[in-house]
Protein backbone atom coordinates (compact mmCIF):
# COMPACT_ATOMS: atom_id res chain seq x y z
CA UNK A 1 0.00 0.00 0.00
CA UNK A 2 1.34 3.39 -0.97
CA UNK A 3 0.93 6.64 0.87
CA UNK A 4 -1.50 8.37 -1.54
CA UNK A 5 -4.04 8.33 1.27
CA UNK A 6 -1.96 10.99 3.04
CA UNK A 7 -3.20 13.44 0.41
CA UNK A 8 -6.88 12.73 1.05
CA UNK A 9 -8.85 15.67 2.38
CA UNK A 10 -10.16 13.96 5.52
CA UNK A 11 -6.67 12.73 6.40
CA UNK A 12 -5.20 16.23 6.04
CA UNK A 13 -8.04 17.71 8.09
CA UNK A 14 -7.53 15.17 10.87
CA UNK A 15 -3.77 15.78 10.86
CA UNK A 16 -4.43 19.51 11.21
CA UNK A 17 -6.75 18.72 14.15
CA UNK A 18 -4.01 16.59 15.75
CA UNK A 19 -1.44 19.39 15.36
CA UNK A 20 -3.86 21.95 16.84
CA UNK A 21 -4.66 19.68 19.81
CA UNK A 22 -0.95 19.11 20.46
CA UNK A 23 -0.14 22.83 20.23
CA UNK A 24 -2.88 23.85 22.66
CA UNK A 25 -2.29 20.96 25.10
CA UNK A 26 0.12 22.99 27.32
CA UNK A 27 -2.70 25.49 27.95
CA UNK A 28 -4.88 22.68 29.28
CA UNK A 29 -2.09 21.57 31.57
CA UNK A 30 -1.79 25.08 33.01
CA UNK A 31 -5.56 25.34 33.45
CA UNK A 32 -5.69 22.00 35.27
CA UNK A 33 -2.91 22.99 37.62
CA UNK A 34 -4.92 26.06 38.52
CA UNK A 35 -7.88 23.98 39.69
CA UNK A 36 -5.59 21.44 41.38
CA UNK A 37 -5.14 18.93 38.64
CA UNK A 38 -6.04 15.37 39.39
CA UNK A 39 -8.29 12.80 37.85
CA UNK A 40 -11.12 11.03 39.69
CA UNK A 41 -9.00 7.88 39.96
CA UNK A 42 -6.18 9.80 41.66
CA UNK A 43 -8.62 11.45 44.06
CA UNK A 44 -10.11 8.07 44.91
CA UNK A 45 -6.62 6.65 45.42
CA UNK A 46 -5.65 9.43 47.79
CA UNK A 47 -8.90 9.28 49.71
CA UNK A 48 -8.78 5.50 50.11
CA UNK A 49 -5.14 5.26 51.06
CA UNK A 50 -3.65 3.76 47.90
CA UNK A 51 -0.19 4.81 46.84
CA UNK A 52 1.46 4.79 43.49
CA UNK A 53 4.54 2.59 43.41
CA UNK A 54 6.57 3.67 40.41
CA UNK A 55 8.20 0.64 38.82
CA UNK A 56 9.00 2.08 35.44
CA UNK A 57 10.66 5.27 36.54
CA UNK A 58 12.47 6.45 33.47
CA UNK A 59 10.25 6.44 30.39
CA UNK A 60 11.78 8.43 27.50
CA UNK A 61 9.36 11.34 27.97
CA UNK A 62 8.03 11.16 31.55
CA UNK A 63 4.61 12.75 32.00
CA UNK A 64 4.64 14.10 28.44
CA UNK A 65 7.74 16.20 29.00
CA UNK A 66 11.31 16.34 27.76
CA UNK A 67 13.04 17.15 31.07
CA UNK A 68 16.36 18.09 29.41
CA UNK A 69 14.66 21.09 27.77
CA UNK A 70 13.57 22.57 31.10
CA UNK A 71 10.43 23.87 29.40
CA UNK A 72 7.26 21.85 30.11
CA UNK A 73 5.20 23.55 27.39
CA UNK A 74 7.76 22.82 24.67
CA UNK A 75 8.36 19.37 26.13
CA UNK A 76 4.63 18.70 25.99
CA UNK A 77 4.39 19.77 22.36
CA UNK A 78 7.37 17.61 21.36
CA UNK A 79 5.88 14.69 23.32
CA UNK A 80 2.57 15.18 21.51
CA UNK A 81 4.16 15.23 18.06
CA UNK A 82 6.40 12.23 18.74
CA UNK A 83 3.57 10.29 20.39
CA UNK A 84 1.04 10.98 17.61
CA UNK A 85 3.58 9.96 14.94
CA UNK A 86 4.57 6.74 16.74
CA UNK A 87 0.90 5.84 17.29
CA UNK A 88 0.10 6.57 13.62
CA UNK A 89 2.99 4.48 12.30
CA UNK A 90 2.36 1.57 14.68
CA UNK A 91 -1.39 1.46 13.94
CA UNK A 92 -0.84 1.70 10.16
CA UNK A 93 1.81 -1.02 10.45
CA UNK A 94 -0.55 -3.36 12.34
CA UNK A 95 -3.37 -2.55 9.91
CA UNK A 96 -1.14 -3.28 6.91
CA UNK A 97 -0.23 -6.69 8.34
CA UNK A 98 -3.86 -7.54 9.11
CA UNK A 99 -5.75 -6.22 6.10
CA UNK A 100 -7.44 -8.52 3.65
CA UNK A 101 -5.15 -9.14 0.64
Amino acid sequence: MGVEWLRERWVLLTIVAVVVMVLISPLFGIACERVGYSEPLENVGEEFGAEEIPIYENPPMPDYDVPALGNPALGGIISGIVGSLVVLLLAVGIGTLLKKP
Binding site: A17, P40, Y56, P62
Partner: protein
Amino acid sequence: MHIPDGYLDAWVFVLFYVLSAIVLFFALRRSKDILQERQVPLLGVLAAAIFAAQMLNWPIPGGTSAHFVGGALAAIFLGPYAGALAMTVVLVIQCLLFGDGGITALGANVWNMAIVDCFIGYYVYKSIASRVSGDGGKIFGAFFGGWLGITAAAAFAGIEIGISSAFRYGIGVTVPVMAGWHAALGIIEGVITAAVVAYTLRVRADLLASALELTTATEGGV
Protein backbone atom coordinates in the same frame (compact mmCIF):
# COMPACT_ATOMS: atom_id res chain seq x y z
CA MET B 1 -8.56 6.68 34.19
CA HIS B 2 -5.07 5.23 33.62
CA ILE B 3 -4.32 3.03 36.63
CA PRO B 4 -0.71 3.54 37.85
CA ASP B 5 1.64 0.90 39.28
CA GLY B 6 0.96 0.14 42.91
CA TYR B 7 -2.84 0.29 42.88
CA LEU B 8 -3.47 -3.31 41.87
CA ASP B 9 -2.62 -6.59 43.61
CA ALA B 10 -0.52 -9.02 41.60
CA TRP B 11 -3.35 -11.52 41.08
CA VAL B 12 -5.59 -8.72 39.81
CA PHE B 13 -3.15 -7.34 37.26
CA VAL B 14 -2.16 -10.81 36.09
CA LEU B 15 -5.84 -11.74 35.68
CA PHE B 16 -6.52 -8.65 33.57
CA TYR B 17 -3.37 -9.17 31.49
CA VAL B 18 -4.69 -12.65 30.69
CA LEU B 19 -8.26 -11.49 29.97
CA SER B 20 -7.04 -8.67 27.73
CA ALA B 21 -4.62 -10.97 25.89
CA ILE B 22 -7.44 -13.42 25.13
CA VAL B 23 -9.73 -10.71 23.75
CA LEU B 24 -6.91 -9.07 21.75
CA PHE B 25 -6.04 -12.45 20.24
CA PHE B 26 -9.61 -12.74 18.94
CA ALA B 27 -9.61 -9.08 17.89
CA LEU B 28 -6.47 -9.70 15.79
CA ARG B 29 -7.95 -12.83 14.23
CA ARG B 30 -11.28 -11.17 13.50
CA SER B 31 -9.60 -8.04 12.10
CA LYS B 32 -7.56 -10.21 9.75
CA ASP B 33 -10.86 -11.42 8.26
CA ILE B 34 -12.74 -8.13 8.06
CA LEU B 35 -10.27 -5.22 7.94
CA GLN B 36 -10.35 -3.69 4.47
CA GLU B 37 -7.38 -1.98 2.86
CA ARG B 38 -9.25 1.33 2.76
CA GLN B 39 -9.68 1.17 6.56
CA VAL B 40 -5.93 1.01 7.29
CA PRO B 41 -5.36 4.80 7.01
CA LEU B 42 -8.43 5.32 9.21
CA LEU B 43 -6.99 2.96 11.83
CA GLY B 44 -3.76 4.98 11.93
CA VAL B 45 -5.17 8.48 11.71
CA LEU B 46 -7.94 7.81 14.24
CA ALA B 47 -5.50 6.26 16.73
CA ALA B 48 -3.21 9.31 16.40
CA ALA B 49 -6.16 11.70 16.84
CA ILE B 50 -7.34 9.84 19.96
CA PHE B 51 -3.81 10.00 21.38
CA ALA B 52 -3.71 13.77 20.80
CA ALA B 53 -7.23 14.28 22.20
CA GLN B 54 -6.24 12.41 25.37
CA MET B 55 -3.47 14.99 25.96
CA LEU B 56 -6.13 17.63 26.59
CA ASN B 57 -6.99 17.51 30.27
CA TRP B 58 -10.19 19.48 30.78
CA PRO B 59 -10.23 21.19 34.16
CA ILE B 60 -13.45 20.60 36.07
CA PRO B 61 -14.34 23.08 38.83
CA GLY B 62 -13.85 21.48 42.23
CA GLY B 63 -10.36 20.12 41.74
CA THR B 64 -10.73 17.39 39.22
CA SER B 65 -9.98 16.96 35.56
CA ALA B 66 -10.90 14.61 32.80
CA HIS B 67 -9.84 13.82 29.31
CA PHE B 68 -11.60 12.31 26.33
CA VAL B 69 -10.96 8.55 26.14
CA GLY B 70 -12.30 7.68 22.69
CA GLY B 71 -12.89 3.92 22.78
CA ALA B 72 -16.51 4.21 21.67
CA LEU B 73 -15.50 6.61 18.89
CA ALA B 74 -12.81 4.23 17.61
CA ALA B 75 -15.30 1.34 17.63
CA ILE B 76 -18.03 3.30 15.84
CA PHE B 77 -15.60 4.05 12.99
CA LEU B 78 -13.69 0.77 12.88
CA GLY B 79 -15.95 -1.76 14.55
CA PRO B 80 -15.16 -3.07 18.04
CA TYR B 81 -12.32 -5.40 17.02
CA ALA B 82 -10.13 -2.98 15.07
CA GLY B 83 -11.28 -0.24 17.46
CA ALA B 84 -9.88 -2.20 20.39
CA LEU B 85 -6.58 -2.61 18.51
CA ALA B 86 -6.37 1.15 17.83
CA MET B 87 -6.98 1.91 21.51
CA THR B 88 -4.43 -0.69 22.58
CA VAL B 89 -1.77 1.00 20.42
CA VAL B 90 -2.56 4.33 22.12
CA LEU B 91 -2.40 2.82 25.63
CA VAL B 92 0.84 0.91 25.00
CA ILE B 93 2.60 4.03 23.67
CA GLN B 94 1.28 6.16 26.55
CA CYS B 95 2.62 3.60 29.01
CA LEU B 96 6.02 2.93 27.43
CA LEU B 97 6.99 6.38 26.11
CA PHE B 98 5.34 8.62 28.67
CA GLY B 99 4.82 6.55 31.82
CA ASP B 100 1.07 7.26 31.66
CA GLY B 101 -0.55 4.20 33.22
CA GLY B 102 1.50 1.59 35.03
CA ILE B 103 3.41 -1.22 33.36
CA THR B 104 1.83 -3.75 35.70
CA ALA B 105 -1.59 -2.13 35.21
CA LEU B 106 -1.36 -2.10 31.40
CA GLY B 107 -3.51 -5.23 31.07
CA ALA B 108 -6.22 -3.69 33.26
CA ASN B 109 -6.02 -0.34 31.44
CA VAL B 110 -6.36 -2.12 28.08
CA TRP B 111 -9.31 -4.08 29.46
CA ASN B 112 -11.09 -0.90 30.63
CA MET B 113 -10.34 1.62 27.89
CA ALA B 114 -9.62 -0.55 24.83
CA ILE B 115 -11.99 -3.48 25.37
CA VAL B 116 -14.88 -2.46 27.64
CA ASP B 117 -15.13 1.09 26.23
CA CYS B 118 -15.00 -0.15 22.62
CA PHE B 119 -17.41 -3.06 22.94
CA ILE B 120 -19.98 -1.41 25.25
CA GLY B 121 -19.73 1.83 23.27
CA TYR B 122 -20.15 0.04 19.96
CA TYR B 123 -23.08 -2.16 20.93
CA VAL B 124 -24.96 0.70 22.60
CA TYR B 125 -24.39 2.76 19.43
CA LYS B 126 -25.45 -0.10 17.18
CA SER B 127 -28.58 -0.99 19.11
CA ILE B 128 -29.80 2.62 19.05
CA ALA B 129 -28.75 3.29 15.45
CA SER B 130 -30.51 0.15 14.21
CA ARG B 131 -33.78 1.09 15.94
CA VAL B 132 -33.91 4.82 15.27
CA SER B 133 -33.73 5.49 11.58
CA GLY B 134 -31.67 8.16 9.87
CA ASP B 135 -28.65 10.12 11.01
CA GLY B 136 -30.41 11.07 14.25
CA GLY B 137 -30.27 7.47 15.44
CA LYS B 138 -26.56 7.27 14.74
CA ILE B 139 -25.85 10.58 16.47
CA PHE B 140 -27.93 9.65 19.54
CA GLY B 141 -26.34 6.21 19.49
CA ALA B 142 -22.87 7.81 19.44
CA PHE B 143 -23.76 10.01 22.42
CA PHE B 144 -25.04 7.13 24.54
CA GLY B 145 -22.26 4.83 23.33
CA GLY B 146 -19.59 7.36 24.35
CA TRP B 147 -21.28 8.03 27.67
CA LEU B 148 -22.05 4.47 28.73
CA GLY B 149 -18.77 3.11 27.32
CA ILE B 150 -16.67 5.32 29.55
CA THR B 151 -18.96 4.77 32.56
CA ALA B 152 -18.64 0.98 32.16
CA ALA B 153 -14.86 1.35 31.77
CA ALA B 154 -14.73 3.36 35.00
CA ALA B 155 -16.89 0.76 36.78
CA PHE B 156 -14.34 -1.90 35.80
CA ALA B 157 -11.52 0.32 37.07
CA GLY B 158 -13.52 0.52 40.32
CA ILE B 159 -13.74 -3.28 40.47
CA GLU B 160 -10.01 -3.72 39.84
CA ILE B 161 -8.94 -1.26 42.54
CA GLY B 162 -11.71 -2.34 44.92
CA ILE B 163 -10.63 -5.99 44.96
CA SER B 164 -6.99 -4.93 45.46
CA SER B 165 -5.69 -4.56 48.99
CA ALA B 166 -4.03 -1.16 48.44
CA PHE B 167 -7.49 0.32 48.81
CA ARG B 168 -9.02 0.34 52.26
CA TYR B 169 -12.49 0.07 50.80
CA GLY B 170 -13.99 -2.69 48.70
CA ILE B 171 -15.91 -2.63 45.46
CA GLY B 172 -19.08 -1.57 47.30
CA VAL B 173 -17.44 1.85 47.60
CA THR B 174 -14.94 2.06 44.73
CA VAL B 175 -17.32 1.03 41.93
CA PRO B 176 -20.05 3.60 42.72
CA VAL B 177 -17.44 6.34 43.20
CA MET B 178 -15.58 5.63 39.93
CA ALA B 179 -18.73 4.96 37.89
CA GLY B 180 -20.50 7.95 39.42
CA TRP B 181 -17.71 10.38 38.60
CA HIS B 182 -17.37 9.09 35.08
CA ALA B 183 -21.12 8.96 34.49
CA ALA B 184 -21.06 12.71 35.10
CA LEU B 185 -17.84 13.44 33.19
CA GLY B 186 -18.87 10.93 30.51
CA ILE B 187 -21.55 13.29 29.24
CA ILE B 188 -18.67 15.31 27.71
CA GLU B 189 -17.33 12.09 26.15
CA GLY B 190 -20.79 11.43 24.70
CA VAL B 191 -21.11 14.95 23.30
CA ILE B 192 -17.67 14.81 21.62
CA THR B 193 -18.34 11.33 20.21
CA ALA B 194 -21.72 12.45 18.84
CA ALA B 195 -20.25 15.65 17.39
CA VAL B 196 -17.51 13.78 15.51
CA VAL B 197 -20.03 11.25 14.17
CA ALA B 198 -22.49 14.01 13.17
CA TYR B 199 -19.75 15.88 11.29
CA THR B 200 -18.51 12.72 9.59
CA LEU B 201 -22.06 11.78 8.51
CA ARG B 202 -22.31 15.15 6.81
CA VAL B 203 -18.96 15.17 5.00
CA ARG B 204 -17.74 11.53 4.62
CA ALA B 205 -20.44 9.11 5.79
CA ASP B 206 -18.63 6.28 3.99
CA LEU B 207 -15.83 6.43 6.59
CA LEU B 208 -18.18 5.01 9.21
CA ALA B 209 -17.63 1.32 8.58
CA SER B 210 -20.28 0.29 11.01
CA ALA B 211 -22.79 2.40 9.12
CA LEU B 212 -22.27 0.04 6.16
CA GLU B 213 -22.57 -2.95 8.45
CA LEU B 214 -25.87 -1.64 9.81
CA THR B 215 -27.21 -1.20 6.29
CA THR B 216 -26.40 -4.77 5.27
CA ALA B 217 -27.83 -6.09 8.55
CA THR B 218 -31.19 -4.41 8.01
CA GLU B 219 -31.26 -5.61 4.41
CA GLY B 220 -31.17 -9.19 5.60
CA GLY B 221 -27.44 -9.83 5.27
CA VAL B 222 -25.34 -11.32 8.01
